[in-house]
Symmetry: C2
């Protein structure tokens, strides 16, 4: 029997996540037949490489997806809104890194370590969660399985690259300017296209994405509802309470998170038990030894696929409650790696096919 090979399109191939999608695909287990790199008209004509082979970036059009089996999309919400249904219509399965389809009831939102089973019922589009959500659920899931989970309060320390390559470059430019005694220029953060922009260098910005009417940012909203959908199968699940604050910090790559969580009192959770569950969990590396000052740090997590967890300790005044510190490369597990990992699982489970009539679910009336 000949092994099936796959024609893969990378949509948004030139961005911070796009270039990492190429790298992650190069080292993945997926048998690749052909790779097509797609981007906006502005980036068309650029030359990138896949496994040493030059590939010219093409402008994405609906026809770009003809003959494609799998699309790895990271071109932003409006791009995925437009092109994901076109790809599905042409028989391609889309793993989408944008936020556009995540809350759609026909779209599974998947972190393989947590809810790989949700891939089985896909309709052609599978969503990749928000970066800050992904690393948190990777760390929380082994705890939930062993000890239950009723409540989460998270504070994030999010890297500039979560807002794209240009935000990362702006941070470095601002830092260089400030160290030279020059004025810092801010045109991107906190949110591209917002009314006001502030420097991130040597600063903290408690705004990631736009504000909702209830005073939460959309990033915080995502962490709440995506966590519920991924871990509890319902974006409005009442089984767990999730809340938190998202803050941008002057770090290029690697998100940090302080996570407070409450377990089921009937399970008798202990710090040692939680550490053991984490150390045995897929995709998690426990770095937790105060005696040797071992704990996760963004500069050590950069370029790694895993989620790093440390500082696990009990809340001293609330039973069954604990704290931990979680770090991961936001461009890899938070984006490109989780996307390619979903694609790997789709291949392994023989799920790279669009069910008949599925595309209609994504065509707006």
């Amino acid at each position: 029997m000949t092994e099936r090979t796959y024609n893969i399109a990378i949509l948004g191939a030139t961005g911070a996540v796009g270039t990492r999608l190429i790298e992650q695909l190069e080292t993945s287990t997926i048998p690749v037949n052909q790779v097509r790199l797609l981007a906006s008209a502005k980036s068309a004509g650029k030359k990138l490489t896949f496994k040493g082979q030059d590939i010219i970036v093409e402008e994405a059009t609906p026809e770009s997806f003809d003959g494609i089996d799998l699309v790895l999309a990271s071109g932003g919400g409006s791009v995925s809104h437009k092109f994901a249904p076109e790809a599905v219509k042409r028989g391609a399965v889309v793993v989408d890194n944008s936020s556009y389809w995540r809350m759609n009831d026909n779209v599974p939102l998947v972190v393989p370590e947590v809810n790989e089973a949700d891939l089985q019922a896909h309709n052609g589009i599978i969503a990749n969660p928000n970066c800050s959500t992904t690393q948190m659920v990777v760390a929380l899931e082994p705890i939930r399985r062993a000890y239950g989970l009723s409540r989460v309060i998270v504070s994030t320390y999010q890297a500039a690259s979560g807002a794209g390559q240009s935000a990362w470059e702006e941070l470095v430019a601002q830092t260089t300017a400030h160290n030279a005694g020059e004025k810092m220029v801010a045109n991107i953060l906190p949110v591209k296209g917002a009314d006001k922009h502030y420097p991130l260098a040597y600063n903290l910005l408690p705004q990631i994405d736009i504000f909702e009417d209830d005073g939460y940012t959309h990033e915080e909203w995502k962490m709440i509802h995506e966590t519920k959908k991924i871990m509890f199968g319902d974006k409005n699940s009442k089984s767990v309470k999730v809340t938190g604050t998202a803050v941008r910090v002057p770090v290029p790559v690697g998100h940090g998170e302080t996570v407070y969580f409450e377990t089921d009192p009937n399970t008798g959770a202990t710090t040692a038990g939680i550490q053991k569950a984490l150390s045995q969990a897929d995709g998690v590396i426990l770095e937790d030894d105060p005696k040797t000052q071992l704990y996760p740090q963004p500069i050590n997590a950069e370029g790694k696929r895993e989620t790093f967890v440390g500082r696990v300790r009990p809340d001293l005044e609330n039973d069954d409650s604990f704290h931990m510190w979680v770090v991961s490369d936001n461009l890899l597990k938070g984006a490109a790696w989780n996307t390619v990992q979903i694609a790997e699982r789709l291949v392994a489970l023989n799920l790279v096919c669009v069910p008949a009539g599925a595309a209609a679910k994504f065509i707006e009336a």
Copy 2:
């Protein structure tokens, strides 16, 4: 009647906090007769200025405090351990910025906006709290007075200068090196004299101060017990539950804090009510308007005496529970300004005198 004037010694005058103690004293309401600047032998002979007048830094000895009314101390724990009792013995009142005396039952731990009344019973030493504690209690106290306070979970985003001038300089040097493609050198953070040192530039360090046996850092321990002592009069108070995680971030000056808190259900706390209480509180500036992207940022707080609060919003799944974001200049309200402010209040309340026999309380057997 002639106004009383004061002879003031600044102990640890050459450090990041010491130089700000001089500046804050220059602009304070305290009628100063004479200023004596004290430091270690290494810094003796340096020339600093007070209100335009040159002052030569002297090596601190017990006799340095002869004729001194008020000591503003910021030379670290071992220096305050040694010299504070010597100063009190000589009739000087010490406002101490180190952690050494904070938990001593004979020493009030004071943030004037919160517990100025505790100054009345002082025994010659008054302690200034840890920087991360001070700004948090300034923000929490108006809420506690209006709506009660039963629980606090804080995550800190602490600036390099909280570990002193040298840590601040190391951060800038590391950033400059990294931007030039050179190796970052780390000799100070996370903790001076610890076995391991890590770069802070473009990184996050979830360790501030040494680790306790229970897995908490001493910084976290301080936030818990100092908050209880300042707000509830007992370092082990059971009236409030306080916990959290302290993280060092690559910011030179200005600590950020995400603060989750629970109020008394009988008071009917609302976001608008909390915002009103904060806007009317001494030492607080409410910066809270998502529509205009107004929220506290370290670069705006630098050089200011106030504590800035924003992002006030209800927890969406827990009644009577809220979140906020608190920023203040860690070298001013977190250190030098709170120290000088305590001194101002001691002067205003005519409390610059050591009760008879008080010194004996601080002389170890």
